[in-house]
């Protein structure tokens, strides 16, 4: 299958993936609030309602737990639901179905039942949507065995990872960053998947490894590019999947660069950066570290409404540059 790449936005790439999956497999359906005629809160589902009709693009009331429960039940019975939660913050309302049912069923039912559920959620800050609509809660779900947690960072990943998630027999939580929906990038035509167990070295370097996720991949790349002017050669890894984490790619990189910095938008304390940091300390890469590991993450506050404070609450390019410079040059 030859695939010609075109430029698509992240949102359109996701829509294309859903369309391809629904065309190919009659058990795939989309469910969520406003996913029908409105086209989705962030216009991701768009015209899917016209193409597949209201039986496969199903509007729900404002009742996340009910929608999630319906999807878990459908998944157990041979369907492949895509459940869109309007903001990932509202996944809290559906936690019982996701954490206590979807994640557990395979294990509690002797492996006879699986839950091939995909939950899609717009996440992150930057839209002025304040504290209840701007969080990054991926670490919550990454703490639960039985779930997979992915964070596509480009249109290419967004399409390929969603198709991989739909192939996966177990529940996959897809955190889509709101600010990335308009990002345009090369996306192959047709069907392809991005494996759900590999991080990706998006920039090779030798002085420092930055492991970033979601939108922070782009900020880290921008910082790395800027720091080439100072002679620094920074490696950037797109984590892509928070669970199961691709430890080996990070370990190999740290063994090469001897320095590690983790950057994510989610709150720093008890975040995925802490997990990566501890993982490295437990691994063979520990003996290659030539500086303390540095974590950058969200500050200790709910995301503010004020746009300046909102920006100040998550890592930004100047801060990444400063921290990376200090780390690579040995000030820390």
């Amino acid at each position: 299958m030859t695939q010609e790449a075109r430029e698509l936005s992240y949102a359109i790439a996701i829509r294309e993936a859903m369309g391809l999956a629904m065309e190919a497999d009659p058990t795939v359906f989309l469910m969520g609030e406003d996913v029908g005629v409105y086209g989705g809160a962030f216009q991701v589902s768009g015209d899917l309602i016209d193409r597949f009709g209201p039986e496969r693009v199903i509007e729900t009331p404002i009742a996340e737990l009910g929608g999630a429960g319906l999807c878990v039940g459908a998944a157990m019975n041979g369907m492949k639901p895509i459940f869109e939660i309007q903001f990932s913050d509202f996944a809290t309302l559906a936690l019982d179905q996701i954490v206590n049912q979807a994640a557990k069923a395979r294990f509690m039912l002797g492996g006879e039942v699986s839950v091939p559920l995909v939950v899609r959620m717009p996440a992150g800050s930057g839209t002025g949507a304040a504290a209840q609509h701007s969080q990054s809660l991926e670490a919550w779900f990454a703490h639960v065995p039985g779930l997979k947690v992915v964070q596509p960072s480009t249109p290419y990943e967004a399409k390929g990872m969603l198709l991989a998630a739909l192939e996966d027999p177990d529940p996959v939580m897809v955190f889509e960053h709101k600010l990335l929906y308009k990002m345009v990038g090369e996306v192959p035509e047709g069907y392809y998947t991005v494996p759900l167990d590999k991080a990706k070295v998006v920039r090779e370097g030798k002085d420092l490894t930055i492991v970033a996720s979601s939108i922070m991949v782009h900020k880290a790349l921008e910082a790395a590019e800027k720091l080439t002017e100072e002679g620094l050669d920074i490696e950037v890894i797109d984590l892509r999947i928070a669970r199961p984490m691709d430890k080996q790619t990070i370990i190999e990189s740290v063994k090469k660069t001897s320095r590690l910095m983790c950057v994510h938008e989610a709150v720093k304390t008890l975040g995925i950066g802490a997990e990566i940091s501890a993982m490295i300390c437990e691994s063979e890469a520990f003996d290659y570290l030539d500086a303390p590991i540095v974590r950058l993450g969200g500050t200790e506050n709910p995301i503010p409404y004020n746009p300046e404070l909102e920006k100040a609450s998550v890592p930004q390019v100047p801060g990444i540059i400063e921290a990376a410079r200090d780390l690579a040059k040995g000030v820390r």
Binding site: T299, K311, A312
Partner: protein, 434 residues
């Protein structure tokens, strides 16, 4: 901000120092310039002045422990300044202008005040020893580098990869294996081998049949320097016998002239050797990888035996100095060497050296070149011998001198030339004073 009292670098190749004595105690008031502690470097003892006036607190530099240079050993608080313990978790976290980015050490800040002891001190001395990164520790392990002797260039004196590399470069003799190809090399040959050798050495003796004396800095320095010299400098040795009667007679005559000086045979050896090297300047040289350094003056290091080891204070430009000046300088240097009060500048460098064991009655010996010197002259005892002269047996006072030479810089013929020049000055000593 309290002023840090730093363990100073008083010597070019100094990496650690040992505080031998504090002259002040926690809470004392000190003024700039007051002597506050004494350190023993590799070679000498030195007094250290207070860098500020105020009250000295948090004295964490312990007497008798090797401490890397450049780390704080105490803090001085200005009059009226609030005392905040500097020991423990003192964070250097700067508030970044882009406040979104919490710093790495942020959580450490609040606890420093009420938990001063359990935290690692901010000097690089801690209960666990030196402050070093995991990579530096692994490299040190693999190459048998003693981290206590490495100076850390990182924050708070932390030893990093580059510091271990620098230490390895500084003493290539210590590197027995090829520098680990980073990837593999899971074992640490050097360090483990050394421990095994030590264990084997001990096992050769009955457990209670010996006493163990820990190396002090001087012993360690002597061992490192001379081992490096013997392993890297291609030595050869040339001996010559010289007649001393004329020199002894001149010495007697000179010393009879005045009570203001008492010239020793050794003083005359220094002068004669300095003049010989002045006359044969190609032998007054130092080896470097790219160049031979031809020195314009003859700086003679004179080995002085002191309790626990030896040290070689230097008579600078000895070829320009009169015997009485050389004599007075040597007396002063030797006396202060015995008290370990020499300044590093007084024993570092030199272009050659003399080791004189004549007073100990040895008939001949060969010394080890001490780089950057290319030569060292070993002077044995004067002995009366029966020597045939003009067909008759005559009694002559003779002495054997042996020159040890770095063959990288000085060849055999040149060595013979400079020794013959020396012999000429000794046997015709008036030439020395002209």
């Amino acid at each position: 901000m309290a002023t840090e009292v730093i363990l100073p670098k008083v010597d070019m190749d100094m990496e650690t120092g040992k505080i031998t004595q504090w002259f002040v105690k926690d809470g004392d008031t000190v003024s700039v310039g007051d002597v506050i502690f004494e350190i023993e470097t590799d070679k000498a003892a030195m007094e250290v002045d207070s860098p500020a006036s105020g009250i000295i607190r948090d004295i964490i530099g312990k007497e008798g422990e090797d401490t890397p240079i450049g780390v704080p050993v105490a803090w001085i608080f200005a009059e009226g300044e609030d005392y905040i313990s500097q020991v423990g978790g003192a964070s250097s976290a700067s508030s970044s202008s882009d406040a979104a980015v919490p710093e790495v050490a942020e959580e450490a800040v609040p606890q420093s005040a009420d938990n001063p002891v359990l935290d690692e001190p901010s000097g690089s001395v801690s209960v666990k020893g030196v402050r070093a990164t995991p990579l530096a520790r692994r490299m040190a392990r693999e190459h048998g580098v003693d981290l206590a002797s490495v100076t850390g260039s990182g924050p708070k004196g932390r030893i990093r990869k580059r510091d271990v590399l620098a230490a390895l470069e500084a003493k290539p003799a210590a590197v027995t294996a090829e520098p680990a190809s980073a990837e593999a090399a899971p074992v640490a040959p050097a360090a483990r081998d050394m421990a095994a050798v030590d264990a084997r050495t001990r096992s050769l003796f009955e457990p209670d049949s010996f006493e163990e004396v820990a190396h002090d800095n001087m012993r360690r320095t002597i061992a490192e320097r001379l081992q490096e010299s013997k392993q890297t400098v291609p030595h050869f040795y040339v001996s010559v016998e010289v007649e001393l009667d004329a020199l002894l007679a001149l010495r007697k005559q000179m010393n009879a002239e005045s009570d203001a000086f008492k010239i020793s045979v050794n003083d005359m050896m220094i002068k004669a050797w300095a003049l010989a090297l002045r006359d044969v300047p190609d032998a007054n040289v130092s080896w470097t990888q790219t160049h031979t350094l031809k020195h314009k003056h003859v700086d003679v290091g004179v080995a002085v035996s002191i309790p626990g080891g030896l040290i070689t204070p230097i008579v600078r430009s000895a070829e320009t100095k009169s015997l009485s000046v050389i004599s007075a300088e040597m007396k002063d240097l030797a006396a202060r060497a015995k008290e370990r009060k020499l300044k590093p500048a007084e024993y570092n460098g030199g272009t050659t050296a003399i080791s004189n064991m004549g007073m100990m009655g040895v008939s001949s010996f060969a010394a080890i070149v001490n780089p950057p010197h290319s030569t060292i002259l070993a002077v044995a005892a004067a002995q009366e011998r029966i020597v045939p002269k003009n067909g008759e047996a005559s009694i002559v006072t003779m002495m054997t001198v042996t020159l040890s030479v770095d063959h990288r810089t000085v060849d055999g013929a040149l060595c013979a030339e400079v020794l013959n020049a020396f012999k000429r000055y000794v046997e015709r000593p008036m030439l020395m004073v002209i």
